[in-house]
Chain length 278, copies 6
């Protein structure tokens, strides 16, 4: 379950305002004021559901009296053609909220569904599928949640949520060693220190300097294997960079702890979900 935090309420209200503008001129003209209807939200393909509580909040933001009959919950598999939730109440509100509600549900379920495919492919391996900071701006919290609904896990929560020394940081200061030294001088031991490395030499330097997570960036399968061996369980190992459904199993076989996949959030296609009035 995703608690509907104040930030999500605000997101929903802004989304509704963006779409409704000064009012739904079609619905207001055609549907009479007291009309009541039943609507069913239906999966148009096999999906992992994500966002059902947000969908409910979309309609509640428009009209507190809409009622819901949940059929599936977030994280559930829903087969093509199955109903997800039934809504009943004021017809105008159902029609006005439909597009925003579905836009959110289709996108988050798209992420959960794609994540689940990666997770399924790597079942049996130690490697966890994790997200990146390549989220859709203004959707970060919801997209991180969608990844979890799909069985994935989350990377650090943002720029305050952990240390990640990237290529550009290392360039700027000269070496991994110096970068970590500066981190240790300025930051208490409450967050992990991760370093992005591109080769085995980097792995060695990161280990020696006190890195607690090592991200193997765009390294070949043999190199990753070598790195895993070298690290030998002393720190967490993350594989990253252009890993897709074709390559993910090979990466998992190397024994890394985590595989991060940017596409989970930046390129997951929306799944097909629609709403039918009863």
């Amino acid at each position: 379950m995703l608690p509907i935090l104040p930030s999500i309420k605000y997101f929903i209200e802004t989304a509704l305002t963006e779409d409704i503008q000064t009012g739904d001129i079609t619905t207001n003209a055609i549907i009479t004021e007291n009309s009541q209807s039943i609507a069913k939200v239906i999966a148009g393909e096999n999906i992992i559901l994500c966002g059902i509580d947000i969908l409910k909040e979309v309609f509640h933001s428009l009209n507190q009296s809409i009622e819901f009959q949940e059929i599936y919950r977030d994280g559930n598999k829903v087969s093509c053609g199955e109903g997800i939730i039934e809504l009943s109440g004021d017809t105008r509100s159902l029609l006005i909220g439909e597009r925003v509600g579905l836009n959110i549900l289709q996108r988050l379920s798209g992420i959960a569904t794609l994540t689940a495919k990666y997770v399924e492919l790597t079942e049996g391996y130690k490697a966890e599928i994790i997200d990146t900071r390549k989220t859709t701006p203004l959707w970060m919290g919801m997209e991180r949640y969608a990844v979890r609904c799909g069985g994935g896990k989350n990377h650090r929560s943002g720029l305050s949520g952990g240390v990640l020394i990237k290529d550009n940081h290392i360039k700027a200061v000269g070496s991994i060693r110096k970068a970590i030294k500066r981190i240790k001088k300025n930051i208490a031991g409450m967050v992990k220190i991760e370093v992005e490395v591109g080769n085995l030499k980097g792995v060695g330097e990161a280990l020696d300097s006190g890195a607690e997570v090592i991200m193997l960036d765009n390294m070949s399968i043999p190199e990753i294997k070598e790195a895993v061996k070298l690290i030998n369980g002393r720190v967490v190992v993350e594989a990253s960079g252009g890993i897709d459904m074709e390559s993910v199993v090979e990466v998992a076989k190397t024994g890394v702890d985590c595989i991060s996949v940017g596409a989970l959030t930046h390129s997951a296609p929306a799944v097909d979900i629609s709403m039918e009035m009863g």
Copy 2:
């Protein structure tokens, strides 16, 4: 050019806050306060560029003194490996804004690039490629712009921006005729009246009742052809529903005026763009 309207400034500020949280602990610890750098944003594949002014505003929101050397503008084709823009100034700001800036640029350019593919496929036909209301919530204005950068055009701007009588409206009131009658009773002639129909009978009824745009929803190619013949230029004809790159040419050949493609905005994959420090 997309003017940076107040709503876009606010979008950018919220996006930065979401990612930066209380500060970039890595960058603040490693990079010294007065460090200056040059960075280049580079296309990792062939793209149609969209969002360059937003990217600039992202960095200006962090630091007014960042300077830019534009190489390409929105709507331009950029080939894999080419530079898009050069940034110079405060190193910390460059590193802190990188991810948010790229997330926006990659997503909007993804939409422009996908749209351009549809537009190219249908070149020589009358049909225009248009978007739908299946946009990413909170991104509507920017995504509509991205579609234009890709050579597409926009559908109505939201629920106040035009009348679109959909299936559920018709069901609720009983017939197309009645729905249009109510519209005409309540709405002045300043906006077009579009009706969604699923078969030729609906086309006829819509025409007779005074529809000004007819959306042929999920109809077969032969039916669409028949409908175009029947309508005979009297009103605008839009084909809609599950049209993809494989089917779009066949649809264009039918002679419709517009082809709306939801995937332009709800499922365009992000394109590959990165930033390299000089």
Copy 3:
């Protein structure tokens, strides 16, 4: 009924904050914490009511437990001296919300009442009374609704909601013909193309170039008549420019489709409504 969209809730909350500042020092000092009262909102002149649901939301924003006994609904005529709604509950909340609630109700009912006068004057003629974009900034959606409560209709919803080629656009590009050509090149046929013209020559050019609505701006009654004849029902005709209660009937007689009146929203005097504690 006006659904209380998120944007209206936000409007109300901002209005309350603006007036209450850090608290109503008079009420908090004089009225004891648990005091309960009944209050009646009363019309001080004959009005067309508009804004009753917003008034309720004002008090609910302060205190969810206030109860209402509605006597009239939006769009109703209320005679001088009649009660509009009864409120009961926490005395402090009733006193604190009174001024903001009445300020909104008096303004919106003022617009509805003025609109109704124009509508009544033109009864029996084809012409519809419509509003303009001369609304009070931050009140656009509510004022458009007030116009509808008074029996008027709405013009386009804003700058995205339709094409309106004005004098300044034509000047900039050289001719009506060129302006419409550019529009057709850039905009799909989903919105109407309206052109503002100041004389019969303009009417002809607009017709020839494919305008779908023609606004006759500040033209004399004989000219308007001539224009209506020339247009002959082929496109929608709007009369505009300084039309007031003295001239509106003469304009209606010309046979135009719409008469737009900026004063409906920019100069409607507030009507007299007060609240009396029982």
Copy 4:
């Protein structure tokens, strides 16, 4: 001069977003990107100007490079036909901001112009023309300023800005005496205590109980005269309630200190101001 406080910047940005929605489709299609123009804002009647800095900020919110040539400043009289300010720069920005800018300028100048009429009528008398809390919600600060531009003065700034014991407060607690007693128990002597009274008996009670301002509400001219005599300069005297341009001189002659007029802000008609492209 009105300093453009953060709250006014926010007001302007919201007003622009409300009108522009996802973009000015007419202007973007017709006007080329680099087009430059000059525009002149012109009074269409004799006015007292108010809001010129806000108008400038409207255009600067859209485009920092717009330049201004001021001809008149807030508080100045501008005669029908005279220019108020010249703008030069990006044509698109001029056209996109025109309506919002004028809507604000016309409304605020309307208030200043109406206020100036009341002030002129009462010239030579001691009485000051003051506003009330019957302002347009979300416009309070700007409207108070407009009243000052017209030569009027302001009442308390909101519910925290002073004590005003009204009819409903007195009813709730039983008597003027008791109401003032509670105020003195709870509130330090930093704000004035004003009491609304409807007859001479109330005046006496208010005086005896320590009121510092007495509002004579809807009292007849002879009664007001009597009250002024009774009060004899010991406290500030405000006349209030339905005072209009016909009655204001008679009220001023009674010797009251202030005359509050709700219509200044709730019913001032917008003045005629337009923008012409050069």
Copy 5:
């Protein structure tokens, strides 16, 4: 009781977002979704309670179904070890809201508790303990309320809520006399005119010029005594400037009407309050 105005709801939502970021990763991982608990908020020292309704709103913002059993109300004394309120409901919500709820309660109760100490010390004297504008930015309304809960009273509510002519104003214009003259020219008699003076000469000039409140700033006890004698009850007298618990009684003995203490809001230590799960 503090009514939970819209501005306070917004404060709470922002505070929760600030702390929760994209979610409480600890609680979400450990506590199961339907877990229910009881929690008790307990005073860790003797306090004057302030903020109990805000605490409730914090939890209600997260979860409408949390229930409360109040033991003490704002303004009450609570002894070390006593329970203040019991909460029951969804365990996750209780844990997620705990820190924000307590941070607010501890701070406001800290202000109330400190204020009460000053009030107690000066019991029996005419002098009232009042706050200043040295409040914590974004907390002004709540801190003014906390001062009242502790038995203190409030100074003007902000820069619109009264006239306070300070040293820097006097310097800028040349003399107290001139400053007051300008005030009287521009401001109606609805707000009090307070002047800050540093010596007896200033007191005399302020009195002669029509000041209604005189602030004796950083004057010695003998000087204050002299000033009180000189003023002789004609206007309100406020003592101000570095008054602490050691000096406050001596100041009260001089006969001033009000003693303002900045430390009430800018330096009150948080009191010890904790939450224990049952």
Copy 6:
């Protein structure tokens, strides 16, 4: 240096609005429009400065043309009586922004100054002084920065920024072991797992279960010593709970890695800073 992130700009704008309300009636009445002044911000005691860039932004939010002459920067020691910064420009803006600017500077410098005292006391020991989540709501980012200016370091950035298993979590799930097991099942290894323990048994269990940071909560000095010995450098050790300036050295002597002090942010008294007009 604290970059003025969008969230801080928004904080400043809200703070100014809160204080200024509809305008500074005193300053606007007394100071003429074009008056220019110089002002100096001066330390009234020995301080560690924090917030100078925020102070500048406060004045720039009011008036872009104010100019600054910096004397000290954040983190610097400033002695009683020394100038911190000189401001020059529009007199009204200087007076209107003074209180908000100083309120922020005094509070943040108060935190930096208090932190520096703790840091100085523990100089020579390994222990770092760190903050807690007991920050002032809506000030979190700025207060964390103030702690760093005083030489302290930061704990996790909020509820997403790390795992901290507290007493209440352990109670809810039964044991430290179970709590950590659930964490490991749900959370990737990108954040540290900290556990709060109250005795040596807890320390052992935490170590065995895979804790990466152990918080010794309210343990006696001998117990802490024992715990440090037991842990023997394998994980980070934090001492917490009621540690003040009297006890902090004894705690540091035990060899812990971090000492967290809630009072740094919840009870630091504001330091004395004032502004003098030249």
